[in-house]
C-alpha cells in the first residue's frame, strides 16, 4: 500500500462530507420508529422537503432540545415533554388554535403482549391476575408515557401492589418488548405500535387494555422556536394531520385524532 494511498484514505475519512441542502430535522419519540420512516418518504414526494428523524426517548430529546440540539420539529410520545419546552420558551405550537398547547397528532394504545409459545393463558386481564405470571415487563413509568399508562391501569385494576415485586422495568417501550420477546419476561404492557411490527406479530399475540383503565396517551408535536425552517415544519405537521396520513397511523397502531 503506497503512502499516497494511505494519505488519501485518511483525508477521505477525516474530511467532513459536503452537505447538500439542510434537511428538516425531526426529533421523534422512540415509538414512532416503526411508523414514521415511510411517512417521511411520502412527505418528501409530496412537498419536496427532505426530513430526517432522530429516534430517542421523549425525555432524552427534550433534554437535547433544552441544550440547543438543532431540531426543527419535536414529535413527542406524550404532552408533558413538549409542554415543558413551551413553558421554557423553547418551542411553540404557533399556527394552531392555542399556541401554548402542543398539537396532538395521535393517541397511543396500550396492549398486553405475550409470546405464542408461552405456557401461560393467552393475554387478557385474567393473565394479569394469574399467580403463574412471574415477570411482567413495563416501560419506566417515571418518563415513558406507556409505562405511566401501564402503572395507571394496574392501579385501576387493584393489581399494582400484588404485581409490583414481579415488575421488570425497561428503559423504553421497545426494550420492554424485547424483555418479553426474548422470553425473559412472561408478558409485557407495551405499545400497539410495537405489537404490530412484523417481528412481534409473528412471535406473539396481544390484548388491547380497555381505554377506560388509563388516561389517554396523547402524543404531542411542537415546533422548536429557533428553527430556520418554520414553513417546512408547519408543512410536516399539516401532513401528519391530513386524513390520508391519519388513516396510515391507524394501521400502525396509533389512534387518529381527526
Amino acid at each position: 500500500m503506497s503512502k499516497q494511498f494511505l494519505a488519501a484514505l485518511f483525508a477521505l475519512l477525516t474530511l467532513a462530507p459536503l452537505s447538500a441542502q439542510t434537511p428538516l430535522r425531526v426529533a421523534a419519540a422512540a415509538d414512532l420508529e416503526p411508523v414514521l420512516p415511510p411517512l417521511l418518504v411520502q412527505f418528501e414526494k409530496n412537498s419536496g422537503i427532505h426530513a430526517e428523524a432522530s429516534y430517542q426517548a421523549s425525555a432524552t430529546l427534550t433534554t437535547q432540545i433544552e441544550n440547543g440540539a438543532p431540531f426543527d420539529v419535536f414529535l413527542s410520545a406524550d404532552l408533558s415533554f413538549p409542554k415543558r419546552l413551551i413553558d421554557a420558551g423553547l418551542a411553540d405550537a404557533a399556527g394552531s388554535a392555542d399556541s401554548s398547547t402542543p398539537i396532538t397528532y395521535a393517541r397511543g394504545t396500550l396492549v398486553l403482549w405475550e409470546r405464542k409459545d408461552s405456557n401461560l393463558p393467552p393475554p387478557s386481564l385474567d393473565l394479569l391476575r394469574s399467580p403463574a405470571l412471574k415477570r411482567l415487563a413495563i416501560a419506566n413509568p417515571d418518563r415513558a408515557p406507556y409505562g405511566r399508562a401501564a402503572v395507571a391501569a394496574l392501579h385501576r385494576l387493584d393489581l399494582y401492589d400484588a404485581l409490583k415485586p414481579r415488575l421488570v422495568t425497561a428503559e423504553n417501550i421497545a426494550q420492554a418488548a424485547q424483555f418479553v420477546d426474548s422470553a425473559n419476561a412472561d408478558a409485557g404492557l407495551i405499545s400497539l405500535t410495537s405489537a404490530l411490527t412484523p417481528r412481534l406479530s409473528a412471535d406473539g399475540s396481544y390484548f388491547v387494555i380497555p381505554r377506560d383503565l388509563y388516561p389517554p396517551i396523547e402524543q404531542g408535536a411542537v415546533i422548536v422556536s429557533n428553527t430556520k425552517q418554520r414553513a417546512a415544519a408547519h408543512k410536516l405537521l399539516d401532513f401528519l394531520l391530513s386524513p390520508a396520513v391519519q388513516a396510515e397511523l391507524a394501521k400502525s397502531g396509533l389512534t387518529p385524532v381527526k
Binding site: R84, A137, N140, F179, S182, A185
Partner: protein
C-alpha cells in the same frame, strides 16, 4: 442518595473483580507463556467485548441467557431462577463486559517481565503455577493493580449491560449508574449532581489510597 444502589454497585464490582482475576491471571499467563498461533485468537476474543456497544452486548446476553436457548434453560435449572433480572445475571454480564480491562494490563505486564528470568525459572523446574505466582505476578505488581482498579471501576460505571439485563429491580439490579441515569432523564439534575459528585469523590479517594500504598510497597521492594 440511594444507598441501596450504592451498596449494590460496590457488591457487583467486588464480586466481578474477584471472578475476573481468577479468569484473567491464568488467561494472561497462557497468552504470554504459551506457544501457538491460536493464542492470538484467544487474545483477540478476550478483547472483543470492547467493540460491541454495551446495550447490544446486553441484548445478546439477554437472549443467550434467556429461556429460549438450551444454555439459558440449563443455567436456570442449575440456579433455580433465570439469570436475567437477577444479581447473578449482572455478574455474568459484567465479567464478560470488563474482561478486556482485566486481561489487557496483565498481558502487557507479564510480557514486560525479562524472559531470561522466566527461562531460568523454567530450567530450575518451576511449573506454570509457580512461574505465575513467584515470578510473573510479583514482577508485574503494577499491572495486577491496574487490572484490579480498571475492572472494579469499569463495573461501577457499567450502564448499558445492566440496563438491558437488569430490569431495574431495587436491591437486585438497580445499580448506582442506573439511578444516576434515571435522575438525569427525570430532569432531577440536583440529585444527579450529588450522586455523581459522591461517586467521583469516593472513587478518587479510593484510587489515591490504592496508588499511594502501591508506590510505598514498590519503593520498599526495590530498596
Amino acid at each position: 442518595m440511594d444507598w441501596q444502589a450504592f451498596v449494590l454497585s460496590l457488591r457487583l464490582a467486588t464480586v466481578t473483580t474477584a471472578i475476573l482475576l481468577a479468569i484473567a491471571v491464568p488467561l494472561a499467563a497462557l497468552i504470554v507463556l504459551g506457544r501457538g498461533r491460536w493464542l492470538a485468537a484467544v487474545e483477540a476474543l478476550a478483547t472483543l467485548p470492547m467493540v460491541l456497544p454495551p446495550t447490544v452486548l446486553g441484548f445478546f446476553l439477554l437472549v443467550l441467557l434467556g429461556p429460549r436457548t438450551a444454555f439459558g434453560r440449563g443455567i436456570a435449572a442449575m440456579l433455580g431462577h433465570p439469570l436475567a433480572f437477577s444479581f447473578d445475571g449482572l455478574v455474568v454480564g459484567s465479567v464478560i463486559y470488563s474482561l478486556p480491562f482485566a486481561v489487557q494490563p496483565l498481558v502487557a505486564g507479564f510480557a514486560s517481565v525479562d524472559t531470561a528470568l522466566v527461562d531460568a525459572a523454567r530450567l530450575l523446574g518451576a511449573g506454570p503455577v509457580r512461574l505465575v505466582s513467584s515470578i510473573l505476578l510479583p514482577l508485574a505488581r503494577r499491572s495486577l493493580l491496574a487490572a484490579v482498579v480498571l475492572s472494579f471501576l469499569h463495573t461501577i460505571g457499567e450502564f448499558g449491560v445492566v440496563l438491558m439485563l437488569g430490569g431495574d429491580i431495587p436491591g437486585a439490579t438497580r445499580t448506582l449508574s442506573i439511578v444516576l441515569y434515571d435522575q438525569v432523564e427525570n430532569f432531577d439534575y440536583a440529585a444527579a449532581g450529588h450522586t455523581a459528585l459522591l461517586l467521583l469523590g469516593l472513587s478518587a479517594l479510593a484510587l489515591a489510597a490504592v496508588y499511594a500504598t502501591s508506590q510505598k510497597r514498590g519503593r520498599a521492594g526495590s530498596a
